[in-house]
Amino acid sequence: MKRSFVWFGLMALVLSLSVSWMTGCAKKATLQEGAVVTQEQKAVAQAPAVVAAPDDSAARERALREQALREQALRDQAAREAAEKAAREAAEKAAKEAADRAKREAKEKAAAILRELQIADINFDFDKYNLKPEAQEILKNGAPAYLKYRDYKLVIEGHCDERGTAEYNLALGDKRATEAAKYLSDLGVDKERIKTISYGKEMPLDQGHDEAAWAKNRRAHFVIFPPVK
């Protein structure tokens, strides 16, 4: 847009110059009507010679002036173009930075949401799946975030300690996960958003073989699933 403006200006300049020159001639012709016509014709006929003639200083000056003007215009154009390029690049850079910032902010926001949604492991007694008061507390504190961010989903894993049968523990882990899911659903989290899976005693958090390790391993673990874009 700016560039065409410059061109337009340049064209206007050239045009106005040539017009003033031509009108000058026309005036002369009007003043010396009749007899002067031949002179005018002569002048017209001689015109190429006048331009070419090295000794015609006025014409040469004009030509030089025009040349200078053209060159100046070209220089101006180059300068303008450089300035424009710099400005464009600066704008692009700014836009990219803004986008990066937005992305970073979105990421931070998503991470913040995940933090808000994260529910700590809840623990169970041996061979039990009832939610202890502290587990209920954790779930009560965890549920509101799921009511706020309704497009996030949740997988609840049920785990057991190493004691007892693999199969019975798969059922027990299933119970632990579904008990937690039921509680969250009672707190208003849509059942459809919660999936449960039991790993029985097969994936202990702590590899130890004592009560401290077992207590950690008897757990429900909460995995957040962000919306798929």
Binding site: G164, T165, A166, E167, D174, K195, I197
Partner: protein
């Protein structure tokens, strides 16, 4: 998969060479009787059938493998070779060449002799079982195969010995499936009854659990997390193909096959709670058998298929219950202890083996299926879990964990004769005994 089925190319010819004599059709001793004593048996070194073809290595290989396999059955007391009086150079391998008093005097009741013959890659072996007290041949067999088949030949003859002495063949044509668990995955493996030939069946790099042989030995049902959810799969061991047959939301666990191989008892949590269903393997149709808010899991059919034993915690702790095949008449079977799981119904139908918690550890018990006092079979420190009966009902395989080690063990139904079937650095659990595989 059926390694015990002789490949056609092997052409393991089985020729009945000798008359089984007066022992034919007669069962010598009732091994189920409480007063059963192991048979004292001697195994002589095998001899080349042709002169000047001594092969000491092969000779010992036959007698050692035979001794090991006989000992493995739990029915034989192997006499020490050092006590043998007979001069192996002089003695023959037929009745005429044996001085039976050389054997009775050292306490033997039975004697196994044999010979072999090699020709390039061909291997022929003869086996004879003698009753040294009566001084007669009980059974004799001649097998032809390739070199390297000696193990298979020995197993076949041990089966013959068992058949003639106990009335039933042995278990050398059975395998035990179990779960071998590494750091991040658990895969189904199978192993021979004698602990040889460990094979991996699944390779999913995922948790794969609860192997269950079909009654014809062709299929293994199991649960795998390979696609995320614990779903039931069916592996055709002949073709190697696998089909997903139980994939409801929640838990999908295989339990017990029907004898015709058409139905599988399963545990599903698709209705919000762990319940037992009878699933048609072909079309997936389900018949729900339990309706209870507590855990119902680990169903196993009685051999007559009229009843089902399972685990439920409806009383507050896991206990064994029995119900009719249609889910009616639920009755509690175990009362002693607060943790009784993994029921396994004996093939003869009278007993149910299970694991119970004792002083913080787990031990194997058996209880009469009609109820009564349980009998504890294992007593060592550690967790003894997941008992599985051999198809003849004479042995139990189970897993043992403790002190960071784990293994699969086998014992006889009375709790004696414990031996390690498999142990390595990985965790071995959930053994399940195959039917006869040929």
């Amino acid at each position: 998969m059926h390694n015990l089925k002789p490949p056609a190319v092997l052409a393991l010819l089985l020729l009945l060479l000798f008359s089984a004599g007066p022992a034919c059709g007669k069962v010598y001793i009732d091994i189920d009787s409480p007063s059963f004593q192991q048979f004292p048996i001697a195994v002589a070194d095998f001899k080349p059938l042709q002169p000047f073809s001594e092969n000491e290595k092969l000779s010992l290989l036959f007698s050692d493998t035979l001794s090991r396999d006989l000992a493995l059955t739990g029915y034989f007391h192997l006499l020490d070779r050092k006590a043998f009086l007979e001069d192996p150079k002089q003695a023959g391998i037929t009745s005429e060449g044996i001085r039976f008093e050389d054997w009775t005097v050292i306490g033997a009741e039975y004697l196994v002799k044999g010979g072999f013959q090699t020709d390039g890659r061909e291997l022929v072996a003869e086996f004879r079982l003698f009753d040294v007290v009566r001084g007669e041949l009980v059974v004799g067999k001649r097998y032809a195969g390739k070199s390297g088949d000696h193990n298979r030949m020995v197993m076949q003859f041990v089966n013959e010995i068992l058949l003639v002495l106990t009335g039933e063949t042995g278990l050398f044509d059975t395998r035990i499936a179990f779960v071998r668990k590494g750091a991040a995955s658990a895969e189904i493996h199978t192993i021979n009854f004698d602990g040889s030939d460990l094979r991996r069946v699944t390779n999913y790099n995922a948790l794969t659990l609860s192997p269950r042989w079909s009654p014809d030995g062709r299929f293994l049902a199991f649960t795998s997390y390979k696609e995320g959810n614990p779903d039931i799969y069916l592996r055709d061991l002949e073709s190697g193909s696998t089909r997903k047959i139980g994939f409801y939301p929640g838990l999908n666990l295989p339990g017990s096959w029907s004898r015709d191989g058409k139905r599988l008892l399963v545990t599903l949590s698709r209705d919000g709670n762990q319940e037992i269903y009878d699933m048609n393997v072909e079309n997936g149709l389900l018949l729900r058998l339990t309706r209870d808010f507590s855990i119902d899991v680990s169903p196993v059919r009685s051999p007559d298929e009229r009843r089902i034993a399972f685990v439920s915690n409806r009383s507050g702790s896991p206990q064994i219950y029995i119900m009719d095949a249609d889910g009616a008449n639920v009755q509690r079977l175990t009362y002693l202890g607060n943790y009784n799981t993994s029921p396994a119904w004996s093939p003869k139908g009278k007993k149910i083996a299970y694991e119970g918690s004792v002083n913080g550890g787990f031990q194997i018990f058996v209880i009469d299926a009609e109820g009564g006092d349980p009998q504890q079979l294992t007593f060592k420190v550690g967790d003894h879990e997941s008992p599985s009966w051999s198809p003849d009902g004479r042995y139990l395989a189970y897993s043992v964990r403790g002190y960071g080690r784990s293994r699969i063990e086998i014992m006889n139904a009375g709790g004696q004769g414990v031996r390690v079937l498999h142990e390595d650095k990985e965790t071995s659990q959930s053994p399940f005994w195959s039917p006869h595989l040929r």
